[in-house]
Symmetry: none
Subunit: 200 residues, 4 copies
DNA sequence: CATGAATGAGTGTTCATTCAT
DNA sequence: CATGAATGAACACTCATTCAT
């Protein structure tokens, strides 16, 4: 009943994905993972050199995609490409939709279940990206003072990202997912200036 | 060097507050807390009978305030008090502002760092409260279909609560805090119907 | 040097049996047991999920036999089976002889070394059983007053059980054991009325 | 609210006596003792240099009495004083009655609650004393073989001592106590030879 | 390749004992 | 004399990791 190497590897990753998502990285044990995979503890270590390495096997692909977004976005900024906020919205929505089609659970684990690992900063990096664009494209035009606009940018970026992750978590049908993401965009970003009119 | 009792107790609470906030309840050890407090492990147990009891010492006061909000809100609903969404906004904002004047870190720990403890449901209870009011008072009037409105209510409630917590986390001057909370309210709840106009 | 699983398990049980017997359950530590077994603390927990579970591994079989005696005896009483005291003596002696052939130390640990565990009542249950039979079958016929007869029943039952346990502890040859148990019975229960004659 | 030294000392001893008797030496903590005495932990150590020293304060007087019995008895044997078994019974009964009048709880603690301390052998010493006299004065005359007689002597001595302790534990009125001890003597030692008649 | 027994450092917790006040 | 805060070694138990087979 020999199993092919790659099959076992995928088996481990699949079990770990389930457990990391349900219990979080810290609370899922190697024993849990081995048991769910139907193999022994020692054998897990033939495929992955540590527990953190199992996590890497799960989130690294989506992690790289996110790093791509981040550096692509930074490049645009450096080039002074004066994309509008709407363009940015479209780009990031498309990215998120594409990523979550391929790596739903992986993205959620990376962004919400990796406290205590080297990945725990990536969520903040994403927040920063969104924050900058919101600040420049959205709140500067509003009646908000500079300081308040900056802070609200950070908060809204954080909230928007969390909301996106909740949607990805709650919906796995692609059409529905896409629709809900656009509703979310409308909720967060339409008529922003108008909302603060009364403050004048 | 002997130190007065209350001083040590506050010292432990202060260290634990810092560590629970930074690492979460589960990942902060009694040894960490003792070390940061400059005392020994055994001595922590002279002041608190268990690790969970240290947590209680930190969050219990704010926990009770939150339970008050929840039962007060439930009572209003039972009485059929037809308060408008704006009224609800005002009530909850006032509560939050008052609570966070006294307990900043405590509230943040209670709502975001207590996974695995008896407090882990409190955040969801608060989200539920907000979610119901948003759903009834806000999204039903919009062009959103019932299903989407319900889901968005949950997401927005979650995001709004997190945003509040971020503000409390980032601002400790009371005037600033209050101002920012009202800006946040404008951002989340003004002209909601208008945002979805284009979907008609 | 790797050892076979069952060998280690038996090794742990054997070490624990020795230590529980010598020091009592509470005073024997898992570290003691591990050390005497030539393994590490953690490895003990591969075989037993708790210290109490090690105790169970030792005494559970004999515990069940004793529960059998107790319920069998209760059934006889309920059925009103008017067995004579001699019949009872024979039944209980046979039970004890059979049990101690298989489980010597286990019985001794169960009855004398389990203070603070869930087994701590079993000895008193056995004493009660013997006490009732002694009282009804033996001392009521004597010249003793009711109160003294009752108290002596309790004392004699306690002493008889301890004496049995001492015999089991001191003899491991089956023929010898059986012979000694019958001598013990003669010592405790023959001519009981006669012993109190002078009190008339 | 200063208390005289000796008063405090007696207070501690009294509390410890209660607790050692109820929970056993190992399970009673210095904190328990201090609390029940209405003083602080540190102050206990002004009167007794260790927990074991508190125990000594309680049981040492009765311990010495018992050592007296033991050496007195040994002297009689060395002198070849051919006291009869009945004489021995009388002597030991008198001793026990006198001791338990003065030191009821102390005797019980010494003989039944000192596992793990330096006193844990004293009970066996007493058993040995009784055992020798029983063997020489009682069972040698019986139809029992030498080996069985010797073993039964040990068992009966053990049982007799335990029974005595149970009586002391259960009765605190002196007349009642004395009466019950004599009943116990009758039960254990009257017509011993007759009990084994049937074995001929 | 795979096994699973074994390790050892770490967890929360208790308690006899010490010592600055 | 008395206090009670502080210590530190010990406890039962867990788990990522290693390694002989």
């Amino acid at each position: 009943m020999q199993v092919l190497k790659e099959e076992v590897r995928q088996n481990i990753l699949s079990s770990a994905k389930k457990l990391f998502y349900e219990k979080g990285y810290a609370n899922a044990t190697i024993r849990d993972i081995a048991k769910l995979s139907g193999i022994t503890v020692g054998n897990v270590y033939r495929y992955f050199k540590s527990k953190e390495n199992v996590l890497e096997g799960i989130v690294e692909p989506v992690h790289e995609k996110i790093l791509d977004i981040l550096s692509f976005s930074e490049k645009l900024v450096e080039e002074g490409a004066n994309k509008s906020f709407t363009d940015f919205r479209n780009i990031i929505n498309e990215f998120i939709i594409n990523i979550s089609k391929e790596y739903r659970l992986e993205l959620l684990i990376l962004c919400t279940r990796t406290r205590g690992t080297k990945y725990e900063t990536i969520r903040d990096d994403l927040v920063s990206l969104i924050e900058n664009r919101i600040h420049q494209g959205l709140f500067r035009k509003s009646v908000l003072e500079y300081k308040e606009a900056g802070f609200l940018s950070k908060i809204a970026a954080h909230a928007f990202l969390d909301s996106l992750l909740m949607i990805i978590s709650g919906i796995d049908e692609n059409g529905e997912l896409e629709k809900m993401i656009y509703i979310l965009n409308d909720f967060y970003f339409n008529h922003v200036e108008l909302r603060f009119e009364a403050r004048k």
